[in-house]
Symmetry: C2
Amino acid sequence: MNETIETILNHRSIRKFTDQKLSDEQIRIIIQAAQQASTSSYVMAYTIIGVTDPEIKKQLAEVSGQFYVEKNGQLFVFCADLSRIQAIQAQDEEKQVMEENLESTEQFIVATVDAALAAQNAAIAAESLGLGICYLGSLRNDIERVSDILQLPDYVYPLFGMAMGYPNHEPEKKPRFPMEVIYHENTYKKHPEQDKYVQDFDATLKEYYSNRSFNVRSDTWTKQMIRKYKVPQRLDVGPFIKGKQMNRK
Amino acid sequence: MNETIETILNHRSIRKFTDQKLSDEQIRIIIQAAQQASTSSYVMAYTIIGVTDPEIKKQLAEVSGQFYVEKNGQLFVFCADLSRIQAIQAQDEEKQVMEENLESTEQFIVATVDAALAAQNAAIAAESLGLGICYLGSLRNDIERVSDILQLPDYVYPLFGMAMGYPNHEPEKKPRFPMEVIYHENTYKKHPEQDKYVQDFDATLKEYYSNRSFNVRSDTWTKQMIRKYKVPQRLDVGPFIKGKQMNRK
């Protein structure tokens, strides 16, 4: 075990921050860390927007419904961004194939993954500095509005936000699936072998929720997933992204 | 600057490894690190396949065309995985909405990002242990074959591989875009302001390629992108994923 692995294993999402803002130097080092992540074929297909304008933060918090989108030490929005490729001057016949590529699901994956890897580097770097973070998928509650607020052009979409700052609470670490569920050897291990592990995990989690120091309740992973997935979830995201000329085929 | 940030900033992709295999204990801690990454709404929508069977490694190396898919200390394949949600027993009317969600682009993003965040934690943890890594998007050169080789069910797709092991070369760090290209304040900064930065970066990169210690050439970022994007890139990935019941709407 070393410092880095301790930092990684100590991760929990932080949702309450002190009033202290990040310094420019902290932001610089965190963005530098983000940029050093691997990038598919050197594409660097992402843009990070640092939001400090109180009015913009307020509007984004309305979309997410989460107060910590406004109240934090720094707010970032990670965008998947193929627009720099699209802007390249090329010959007409090259340009045609380039745009076909840019509209493919493959390039949608490339940009999404590039943004995600950069974000996770930023998260780990921040946590190593004693800061806390929370990913904000909730910005996709109204992805079109977020895109409008941040003035995102075509070939760019807002993937998620990240609230960052000095922690003002110490949440417990939530259990994860046992390694056997997540890690398979050589080939995928199908249900029903897997079902038993999930049932065991439900039992573990029920114990966790009934014993923890706050928000005690009777709950399992399976129940949470049903509650989440039984109502339509952001079904406008797909059509919105197609409107950005991405993930069209 | 601390050890963790030093590890992150020191990243370069490693493509030549010694013969030494990772120990079970190393693999365990790396997977544990992966699992501690943030996950959207606690979904944990990914599966990691550790490939040790020489025949399977050989087949995957054929798909990627990269020798280090076979020759490494450990090979992982990160899969986006919504199948555990799909396997949950629920009432018929709940089930219908659940499947509609699972087929959405939103949930495709959720699973892809979950897998990517886990992978980047694994990468950083490995590098902190003195190991090197290389992401293998090249497995998507024939995504259907990879899925067949690894016996992936519906609602699961192979996102990328990761070769890991003890480095047997020390490549130079490749430059990244200046921070101004990647990091914008409050709103997206459109071209042409951006164009100038990219041109400057092309000049920087030309200098880098002409001065480095191996594979000296005359090249720029723009030229590389045109070479890559002017030929069709994995246009079968989109239809393949739809066939897995994901990213359909």
